[in-house]
């Protein structure tokens, strides 16, 4: 009984979906984009998982070796260093970007003269190709021609060349990322702020709420949706960072992505662990996204 009615139901929706010419057109229209995405992005992920479970190299498809590549990957000190650098980088840069970005958004959430200029200043770092900004900042941190290295040493903030010290280098990388993406964060948050109707604040003020109270009781809760979207995007962006580490540290400092790149693209022998790390990044990035959506209750619906 149940199967029969289930089948009947299925057939009816199938008929409804593909019987109607308008709906068929809809499917034809999304199909090309969907196919490209499936073939060029999702299929390679599955293929990457297969590669990570074999002893394949770039040139030859190997035999199944179980989780050997994953074991080797976790034993590799470069991987562990890349992982910790990536985590530190992600947490620090996103936190700084959020705090500074929110501050800027609150400050410029009003009409003032010179707004266009500020908006332009916001967009300039964002529009920079990341690698080019990495090249530029590296030149400024360098110990022979670098103005920042010179000034920082002259006023005694640091003692020694920035690029030759791993800790300073990581701080420098975080700094450049903050420079580049804080404005973008501010822009998103500002757009969110502008959707909060002024009357809400007016009413709160009449009720005698202080500035702080208004911020924590009104602004933050109403901004939650925007904040989650912005922070999730930035977190995933930071987590897969490649170009900044690759160019700015000139291979001196590993991130997860540069570890993968070195393994699969530079080395002849690290193809397996490199692929394992690629799958690792994919799975953990997915987990981060799930965390935001499930635990923090981010809205993902595309409906209005």
């Amino acid at each position: 009984m149940t199967t029969a009615s289930g089948e009947g139901k299925e057939r009816s929706w199938f008929k409804e979906e593909f019987g109607s010419p308008e709906r068929r057109t809809a499917y034809y229209m999304v199909l090309p984009a969907l196919l490209i995405v499936l073939v060029v992005a999702f299929y390679p992920v599955l293929y990457g998982v297969v590669l990570s479970l074999t002893d394949s190299t770039v040139t030859s498809f190997g035999s199944f070796v179980g989780v050997e590549n994953y074991v080797e990957m976790f034993q590799n000190p470069d991987f562990r260093l890349g992982l910790s650098n990536t985590v530190i980088f992600t947490v620090a840069s996103v936190a700084l970007e959020f705090i500074i970005g929110l501050g800027i958004a609150l400050a410029i959430n009003q009409a003032f003269r010179g707004r266009g200029l500020v908006r332009a200043a916001i967009l300039v770092p964002w529009a920079f190709p990341t690698v080019i900004s990495a090249v530029m900042w590296r030149l400024m941190f360098q110990d022979q021609v670098g103005v920042i290295n010179y000034v920082a040493n002259a006023i005694g903030v640091i003692d020694g060349p920035i690029l030759a010290d791993d800790t300073l280098l990581l701080i420098a990388v975080i700094f450049v990322d903050v420079w580049k993406t804080t404005p973008f964060m501010a822009l998103l948050l500002l757009a969110g702020l502008q959707t909060i109707p002024g009357e809400v604040y007016e009413a709160a003020r009449v009720d005698g709420a202080s500035v702080m109270q208004r911020f924590f009781r009104i602004t933050l809760p109403l901004l939650k949706g925007t904040i989650l979207v912005a922070v999730l995007f930035r977190t995933l962006d930071a987590y897969r960072i490649y170009d900044l580490f690759w160019v700015m540290t000139s291979r001196g400092l590993d991130s997860l992505s540069t570890f993968v790149y070195e393994g699969v693209r530079i080395s002849q022998l690290q193809f397996g662990p490199g692929n394992a790390a690629a799958v690792f990044i994919f799975v953990t990035a997915f987990a981060i996204a799930l965390f935001f959506i499930r635990v923090l209750g981010m809205q993902t619906s595309t409906e209005e």
Binding site: Q144, P161, L163, R265, S267, Q268
Partner: protein, 442 residues
């Protein structure tokens, strides 16, 4: 899809790299995109008497001239096309590697970095020329390039041009502080540098390339070799030795003693030039090209008269060792025209072609006789001032997994130079990881 892959029937290599099974698994998903790619595939190739020769971008612009000359001499018989490759040797190798791995290369002759031989030979990409290149012929070339072409007791190509790490010194400054001769040992170098720095207020004693890259490996290996250490003995990894540790300690010592700038662990050739030619440093380790930059408009103060060039110092009683660089000529095992390709290699490595390349592009020849050629001596002064250093250079370890070994070495050498790890610890780590690479390889 198979229509796009250009396999050469009859060559075993094409078979070996065709990997049908692999294609089934991997390529299936991309069948659609393959159609788009067909238009992008390179043309050219070896027809009757047409040869393809690859080499990195020739900044001097003289290579094409030489090839034209060859084509003219062999008109109606042979025609060589120069296919330009990336200047960066790493990118060039990537490109060659990918083409050979995909089994779709149309290359006949390869101008290849000296460190590529073993890897290309082990993969069956290049032709064994042992029979065509007898010992009697080999003796006309410098020993290091020949050694760099030898793998598995066979020889895989002919030497083209060479290079070596050299010690540049400010003869004028040394003289002012009372030294008439350049240092022979590291100890002497340190003494001289310290005295000059103190006497004349010079900022640094020595600069070199300490960054985490291939050049950093060459630099560190010079310290290792001159202290009596080495990387490989046959297939055995022997890097963990007191000699190696002593070498790295000397190198690190230059930083801790304030002779070398602290940033030297991030330096490549780019940073070395201005540090030495800008007048801030007494000694510099660099490749021979730097000599030609002295006194040019970028560096007007330090003229060629003020500098001297010599071998890398050593420790008392140990042999000299300058790290060898340079390029060889190899023939693709896939080539249909191996005889013709060999003819081109012969011509290119012969004295007249090498001499012309030396005169027009100031590249160092591999033919021993050219080091006594007055014209070459005049045009390329390093062939006089650094003759012994250049002719006695030492090649880097020859291994089919050299590129992986180099990655490990550059990382550990750099760690030790920065002081993040002691030389002992770095060498221990290196012994293990190199051992692993050698084991994986066999």
């Amino acid at each position: 899809m198979t229509g796009i892959r250009r396999e050469r029937p009859g060559t075993p290599e094409a078979r070996r790299y065709s990997r049908r099974d692999f294609l089934k698994v991997g390529g299936a998903g991309l069948a659609g995109t393959a159609l788009l790619g067909a238009a992008g595939c390179g043309g050219g190739g070896s027809g009757s008497g047409n040869l393809v020769f690859t080499m990195g971008t020739d900044t001097s612009g003289t290579l094409q001239g030489l090839i034209d000359k060859f084509n003219k001499e062999n008109k109606g018989k042979l025609k060589v096309t120069y296919r330009e490759m990336p200047t960066d040797t790493g990118q060039y190798f990537d490109k060659i590697k990918t083409e050979f791995q995909a089994g779709q290369s149309n290359i006949d002759i390869i101008g290849g970095d000296v460190i590529w031989t073993a890897q290309m030979a082990a993969n069956g990409w290049v032709l064994d020329v042992t029979d065509r290149f007898p010992k009697s012929e080999q003796s006309k070339y410098l020993p290091a390039p020949i050694e760099s072409l030898t793998y598995d007791d066979k020889i895989w190509g002919k030497p083209w041009f060479t290079d070596a790490g050299l010690l540049f010194y400010r003869a004028d400054l040394l003289e002012k502080s009372g030294f008439s001769e350049p240092p022979q040992t590291w100890m002497e170098l340190q003494e001289m540098a310290e005295k000059v720095m103190q006497d004349q207020g010079i900022k640094y004693g020595i600069v070199f390339q300490g960054s985490n890259y291939e050049g950093g490996v060459c630099n560190a290996l010079e310290y290792v070799w001159t202290h009596g250490g080495d990387v490989l003995d046959g297939d055995e990894v022997i890097i963990d030795s007191p000699e190696t540790v002593a070498g790295l300690e000397t190198q690190r010592g230059f930083v801790t003693d304030g002779l070398a700038p602290e940033g030297v662990s991030t330096y490549t050739e780019t940073e070395t030039d201005p540090a030495f030619l800008g007048g801030d440093t007494v000694f510099a380790r660099n490749w021979s090209y730097m000599y030609a930059l002295a006194g040019t408009s970028d560096y007007p103060d330090v003229t060629p008269e003020k500098i001297g060039v010599t071998s890398i110092p050593t420790v008392e009683g140990a042999p000299k060792a300058n790290c060898q660089g340079g390029w060889n000529l190899l023939i693709s095992a896939n080539s249909d025209l191996q005889e013709e390709a060999w003819e081109f290699v012969q011509w290119m490595s012969a004295e007249p072609a090498q001499k012309e390349r030396a005169l027009s592009a100031t590249l160092l020849p591999t033919r021993t006789s050219l080091y006594d050629d007055p014209e070459v001596n005049e045009k390329v002064p390093t062939t006089v001032v650094a003759k012994t250093a250049l002719t006695n250079a030492k090649p880097r370890p020859v291994s089919p997994y050299y590129s992986d070994m180099s990655l490990e070495m550059s990382e550990q050498f750099n760690t030790s130079l920065k002081g993040d790890e002691s030389p002992e610890a770095a060498v221990k780590t290196l012994q293990d990881s190199l051992q692993q690479i050698v084991e994986q390889a066999s």
